[in-house]
């Protein structure tokens, strides 16, 4: 026998009683006891029955609808009014309470109506019971109350920002509801973020006017910390908000006003660097590090500052030169700047490595700054020459480096190489360096061979063996020259007849390693001529297929000056010696007579005579006794000359080889450019003009920066020599001609 049929209306009426009881429990009415398991089973079974009765008494659909209606009715009648009646924190509290009640209700009702979930909802493709409950809450309660609730939440956050204490757990719960309903991001998070933005926008606007950079940064750091807490693990915002909130705050506090902040007159980045405020700089790094492209803003200010500091050093150097009466042309004064640049570099590298945490963006900024500074000239003297003068001072005798320890010298040389990396015209430096090295080596002015070799080693390590090839060749030449000299002396010993009558030492240099010198002819005195002949004889007996070209301009001579009071040994250049020896045969000689007898040109002779008669030691007396040499002057041996020392050096200032160095380097560059062009075109066969120029510059960048005009000139030259031709279809392209 089947069960008794339960009519809908009747069954529902019974259910209503249960639901009312549930409502009462939720409302907190006393004396309502919680449901027992029997009650639960009874209701569940009733619903089960009502659903499984044979048609037309199958009430699944109706019950489903009634379920929904129940919830809706409750929300409308009870929940919404209660929310409407409350404000601020009380609203929030009620909101939280009502949601938790709703969950309980949904739970119980779902359990009662569970049969529907099992067999009806899927079949009818309708949402599950819990889903229905959620939707009802969202559509009815949430949509009505949300703006007020959101506003309340945001104003509480405001209060907290302003320093008041708020009920954080309440906020957390309320916000959690949003998350549960699935309405957190929109509309809540959006509002919250916009609100945070405008809050910090206002703050930033007022702080930036009043606060110094360090205090602004402190406030910014503090604000970020607090906001991070809000969205952190212990915070009440969803942790997904953290990044977004951070970005908003960073944008308002750090990005919008970046320029004004970093460049603040008395407290900005430049000031902090100058005053060595490491802590503040570290904070700056921390703050900007997390912002994308943020560090670039700091780097730009940093770079500008370093360039400014360096430029000031250059200005000071120029002023110092101009104010002093000292000789500007030698470049000695100006070379001091190299040491200052080294110090500047050390200092700012210190910041990059220290408070800027070795960051690449800052490294690059420093590099770019020094690339600007290291290519500046001082009073028209190129940076390449200055740095070679600086090295010369360290490596030569009497340059002041004897007082320094080996470690200090090594360190300084190391740093010089670092600076050199920033120089564009490395080939120009090499050429100046070679010139100075020649003087040091040939006039025995090098302080320490070890240091010389050490420096070449460092250059080789940084720029490759090709760069130091010639210089190393120079040093080797002198080692070999010592052996050659020894065997020459043996030869003389064995062939006493060929002895020239004066002690002669010769250095044989390999052409190509050593710089080229303007060859000036001179008629040597017979004693010296004999020396040359003897050595030529010796050398050709020892070697074949080698040609010796004598460079008298580089020689030195020790000559005895038999003055009235005493004999003084004079160390002079070969040219000076040849001039002086003329006076062994003549009492008085005019400028022109000397010129004829020595077969020198006017400029050279002027220099020589000046060093002998108008400088510190007057070996010759000049008539008239003026400070300069003129064609009509007469010269006489100054027998009255004397000096307490037994031996003195009479320097012959070197000619201004600056122009020649630049000429030589320009010539080499033309060859280098040609070679680069041919190499590139050989491998590419066809290439457009701009591309060719680009690759050429790239290929040569290690040594120097070629001028695009010169490159064009060389290309045209190569076209003229049929190495290349223009492409017949596109005049902007070149073709390699095999």
């Amino acid at each position: 026998m089947g069960k008794e049929i339960i009519e809908l209306a009747q069954g529902w009426k019974q259910l209503q009683e249960v639901i009312t009881k549930l409502k009462n429990i939720l409302e907190g009415i006393p004396n309502e006891k919680p449901f027992t398991s029997e009650e639960y089973v009874k209701q569940y079974t009733k619903i089960y029955d009502m659903c499984t009765q044979p048609p037309p008494y199958e009430y699944a659909e109706e019950l489903y609808d009634k379920y929904r209606e129940t919830i809706q009715e409750y929300l409308n009648a009870t929940v919404l009014p209660s929310l409407r009646a409350r404000y601020d924190e009380f609203l929030l509290r009620e909101f939280v309470r009502r949601w938790s009640n709703h969950k309980v209700m949904s739970q119980w009702l779902s359990r009662f109506f569970e049969y529907l979930d099992r067999y009806y909802t899927t079949k009818a493709s309708v949402p599950k019971l819990k889903g229905v409950a959620l939707t009802c809450f969202r559509d009815l309660v949430f949509n009505q109350a949300s703006s007020r609730v959101t506003d309340t939440i945001i104003s509480l956050i405001h209060k907290e920002r302003d320093g008041e204490q708020i009920d954080q757990s309440l906020l957390k719960n309320a916000i959690h509801i949003y998350i549960e309903i699935g309405v957190y991001e929109e509309p809540f998070e959006v509002h919250m973020l916009d609100d945070a933005s405008s809050y910090y926008r206002r703050k930033a606007a007022s702080w930036i006017e009043v606060d110094s950079c360090p205090s602004y940064m402190l406030k910014a750091e503090e604000s970020l910390k607090r906001e991070r807490n809000r969205a952190g693990e212990a915070g009440y915002l969803h942790c997904g908000t953290l990044r977004k909130l951070e970005e908003r705050v960073q944008q308002e506090l750090l990005v919008t006003h970046a320029a004004q902040l970093l460049e603040k007159e008395n407290s900005g980045c430049a000031v902090l660097l100058r005053a060595d405020k490491v802590e503040d700089l570290s904070r700056m790094y921390r703050l900007y590090h997390g912002i994308s492209e943020g560090l670039q803003l700091v780097a730009n200010v940093f770079k500008k500052h370093v360039i400014g500091e360096g430029t000031t050093l250059v200005q000071h150097a120029e002023e110092a030169c101009n104010s002093q009466a000292a000789d500007k042309s030698s470049g000695q004064e100006q070379a001091i700047i190299v040491g200052k640049f080294i110090e500047l570099h050390d200092r700012y590298m210190g910041y990059v490595k220290g408070c800027f945490m070795n960051n690449n963006v800052l490294h690059k900024a420093l590099k770019e700054a020094f690339e600007v500074l290291c290519n500046k000239s001082v009073t028209g003297i190129s940076s390449a020459e200055l740095i070679s003068t600086f090295c010369d001072n360290i490596l030569k005798k009497g340059g002041g480096s004897e007082k320094l320890s080996d470690e200090v010298i090594d360190e300084t040389l190391e740093k010089v190489v670092y600076l050199l990396v920033y120089h564009r015209d490395k080939d120009l430096f090499a050429e100046f360096y070679r010139k100075r090295l020649t003087r040091r080596l040939l006039y025995d002015r090098s302080a320490n061979e070890h240091h010389e070799k050490n420096f070449l080693g460092k250059l080789k390590h940084q720029f490759g063996a090709h760069y130091t090839l010639k210089m190393e060749g120079m040093m080797t030449d002198l080692d070999i020259a010592k052996d050659t000299q020894r065997s020459f002396e043996e030869y003389l010993h064995e062939n006493p007849l060929s002895k020239p009558g004066i002690d002669l030492s010769v250095s044989v240099l390999t052409t190509g390693f050593w710089p080229t010198y303007r060859s000036c002819s001179i008629k040597l005195p017979s004693e010296m001529v004999k020396c040359v002949e003897v050595f030529n004889g010796y050398y050709s007996s020892k070697t074949q297929h080698r040609k010796l070209s004598w460079v008298f301009s580089l020689g030195t001579c020790n000559i005895h000056g038999n003055f009235q009071k005493k004999t003084v040994e004079l160390i002079v250049s070969t040219y000076q010696a040849a001039t002086l020896l003329l006076f062994n045969n003549s009492e008085r000689l005019s400028f022109l007579e000397i010129m004829t007898q020595l077969d020198l040109d006017r400029e050279d002779l002027t220099r020589i005579l000046h060093s002998l008669s108008c400088a510190k030691y007057k070996i010759l007396s000049k008539e008239p006794n003026t400070k300069t040499i003129s064609q009509n002057d007469m010269f006489e041996f100054n027998s009255r000359f004397t000096n307490p020392m037994r031996r003195i050096k009479i320097p012959l200032p070197p000619t201004d080889d600056r122009r020649k160095v630049v000429e030589d380097v320009d010539k080499e560059r033309k060859y280098a450019i040609d070679a680069a062009i041919v190499r590139i075109m050989k491998s590419r066969k066809v290439l457009g003009h701009q591309q060719l120029v680009l690759e050429c510059v790239e290929m040569l960048s290690r040594t120097f920066k070629p001028n695009p005009r010169v490159i064009k000139m060389r290309i045209e030259n190569l076209i003229n020599q049929d190495y290349l031709e223009r492409d017949s279809d596109d005049s902007n392209k070149y073709r390699y001609l095999a």
């Binding site: 003009h689 120029v693 064009k712 045209e716 223009r726």
Partner: protein
């Protein structure tokens, strides 16, 4: 017209009657008559010992044509002949030129000159004529460039009518500057491209970073300085 119809007739007459045979021999006789006249015209100007028309002969030719020997039309004639050596025409060249112009007498040659001018100045031929003019002036063996003075003259002669303002300005520049003593073929052709591609006188689309010869970069700079 006559020639082509002659050749048609030749083709046809191979299989045909004696009347066209008669006509063919008449027309080929006519064309050979023409060749004869061309050749005899050649010999009337040629130097007996060298067998070539030398500068003296050319002068005589010019007098007969009533054209100055420095006139550009003589250069154009040389071009039509594809003459290789400046100041000389050989028989082949003469034949080539006169046959192409269909002139076998002085008066016909003279009458053909205006059309020749038009032909040369057509854009499709101008570039060829322009480069020919340069090569024609390279008189020494292995000579690759022409001195500035001559270049100025040649430029005015060859392009003066087409691009007068550019030519005048460039000639002025070449005469005042001192960096270049000669101009080579690449620079010469570069100027032609310049006239054709660059808007004048504003020079707004000139880009020195392109592969323009350096002399033109300098020229443009000079012009811009002048315009200030």
């Amino acid at each position: 017209m006559r020639r082509s119809s002659t050749s048609k007739k030749v083709g046809q007459s191979n299989s045909n009657s004696s009347s066209s045979d008669l006509f063919r021999s008449a027309s080929s006789k006519a064309s050979s008559k023409e060749s004869e006249r061309i050749d005899s015209l050649f010999y009337s100007y040629a130097n007996a010992s060298s067998g070539l028309i030398d500068p003296e002969g050319i002068e005589a030719l010019c007098a007969d044509l009533e054209v100055d020997h420095t006139d550009v039309r003589i250069l154009m004639l040389a071009w039509k002949m594809k003459a290789e050596k400046q100041g000389y025409f050989n028989l082949d060249e003469w034949r080539r030129g006169l046959k192409a112009l269909r002139a076998d007498t002085i008066s016909k040659l003279k009458k053909s000159l205006p059309d020749l001018e038009k032909e040369v100045l057509r854009p499709s031929n101008l570039s060829d004529f322009y480069s020919y003019a340069f090569r024609y002036c390279l008189t020494e063996e292995k000579q690759k460039s022409i001195d500035i003075e001559s270049v100025c003259e040649l430029l005015t002669l060859v392009l003066g009518s087409q691009f007068p303002s550019q030519v005048n300005l460039f000639v002025e520049y070449l005469k005042t500057q001192s960096d270049y003593k000669v101009i080579n073929m690449d620079q010469w052709m570069g100027f032609f491209r310049f006239c054709n591609e660059i808007s004048f006188p504003d020079l707004s689309n000139y880009n020195p970073e392109h592969a323009w010869p350096l002399v033109l970069d300098n020229f443009v700079e000079w012009v811009r300085e002048k315009q200030k």
